[in-house]
């Protein structure tokens, strides 16, 4: 931590602490993949990849690369004992049916009520692609987003209303950023943790939102 912000690795490390033992989890491609480096060693967390696997292990090293064994980002991965394979129909049924405890995603923007924008910048000349983004957004008991709170230009990515095309409505439960952790919901965003010497007023100024502080709610993803 440098002063009042976390590095991406620190965000991932902090988020990893909130993943309960026994969780079935999907890590979106890109930034969220970092979380897998920080999973607490005393917890057993089972990774889902939407291209048809539960029990995914770490990225494959030279000598263990198998072209038939890849993750959703098309990176070669490994298989842990107790793994299973299934087809895309079953894999997305698993997600859509709410069986995953947790999904971690990146975002372009998140609204204070949990709308997510992470699939398109809306630029007219862009090649469109959505992949599993919209399925992941609605496909877990809890959806966590990790991102830097502001763009490089200093504009807040936590907003009142998304201006980018949305991926899902009201689907994000928690937001982990370099400056703070938020809970999102129908009543808006609440700050549950401030990074370093970050103040609520700084966050209010950056986001333009009437943020308040509150203790995080108990995790409600895992049921027996």
């Amino acid at each position: 931590m440098s002063g009042n912000s976390w590095s991406r690795a620190e965000i991932a490390g902090r988020l990893a602490q909130d993943i309960p033992d026994g969780a079935y989890m999907n890590l979106g491609i890109g930034l969220p993949t970092l979380v897998s480096n920080y999973l607490p060693s005393d917890r057993e967390i089972i990774l889902h990849t939407e291209n048809g696997m539960l029990g995914m292990g770490p990225e494959a090293q030279p000598g263990e690369i198998d072209p038939d064994l890849i993750n959703a980002g098309k990176i070669a991965v490994t298989e842990l004992p107790g793994a299973s394979y299934f087809h895309h129909g079953d894999s997305f049924g698993m997600m859509r049916g709410g069986h995953l405890d947790l999904c971690v995603l990146g975002a372009f923007q998140v609204s204070q009520t949990g709308d997510l924008a992470n699939w398109s910048t809306g630029a007219p000349d862009a090649i469109p692609a959505v992949g599993g983004a919209m399925d992941l957004a609605i496909g877990a008991k809890q959806v966590y987003v990790m991102m830097e709170l502001a763009t490089k230009g200093g504009v807040s990515k936590l907003v009142d209303t998304c201006t980018y095309p949305i991926t899902g409505i009201g689907c994000v439960d928690r937001l982990y950023t370099d400056r703070a952790i938020f809970e999102l919901g129908a009543r808006g965003a609440t700050v549950t943790e401030l990074v370093g010497d970050t103040t609520l007023n700084e966050l209010r100024e950056l986001t333009g939102l009437a943020l308040e502080y509150s203790l995080a709610q108990e995790y409600k993803g895992i049921t027996s």
Binding site: E44, G82, F86, F92, G93, M94, R96, I138, G139, S224
Partner: protein, 232 residues
Amino acid sequence: MISKTSASAASALADIPDGATIMIGGFGLAGQPVQLIDALLEQGAANLTVVSNNAGNGHSGLAALLGAKRVQKIICSFPRQTDSHIFDALYRAGEIELELVPQGNLAERIRAAGAGIGAFFTPTGFGTSLAEGKETRTINGRDYVLEHPIAADFALISAYRADRLGNLTYRKTSRNFGPIMASAAATTVVQVDRIVELGELDPEAVITPGIFVNRVVETGDRFEREEWADVG
């Protein structure tokens, strides 16, 4: 370390409340979770809604649960069998509610609950009395009925092998409703012959991934039971 193993059928079912909706696997006797049904009878929960293909055979298992007046409603496709005496008597006496569903619609409604589908158009039953009052639609010249998911609080199913993560394999036609019911219940309890070491099940041949399973009870080798004397 995750372990979904329950010490006994009794402990695996201890928290089933009165009024629960319970799926019970099996097609006839194949795949019927006999030990779990016996434990449910012992446990005492009442006013249950049961989702199962049949409505009990003879006087044991699901039939005994019906006979003990624990079931207020049953959702099934084929209650009438040569030995469904207990259901028949309750039904004639108006003491049990029946929702009769064509078998494939029953399966697809269970599957829809597990897969997060809000409703679906099926051709089965169109124009019949079982579709009366239901929304219909013609799509590309074919007639369909709109059917909704069936979810449950608990699923009680039988499988062949499990590991501590709840990954399951089945055996022959006893697979039947197990995989879809496991996906459609908030809590899935499975009886299996044997719980094997992690890694012993071939990941390509796991039929129900452990994500759908909450509790596993080991009930011993089926081949040692009397009715299995014939199997080589």
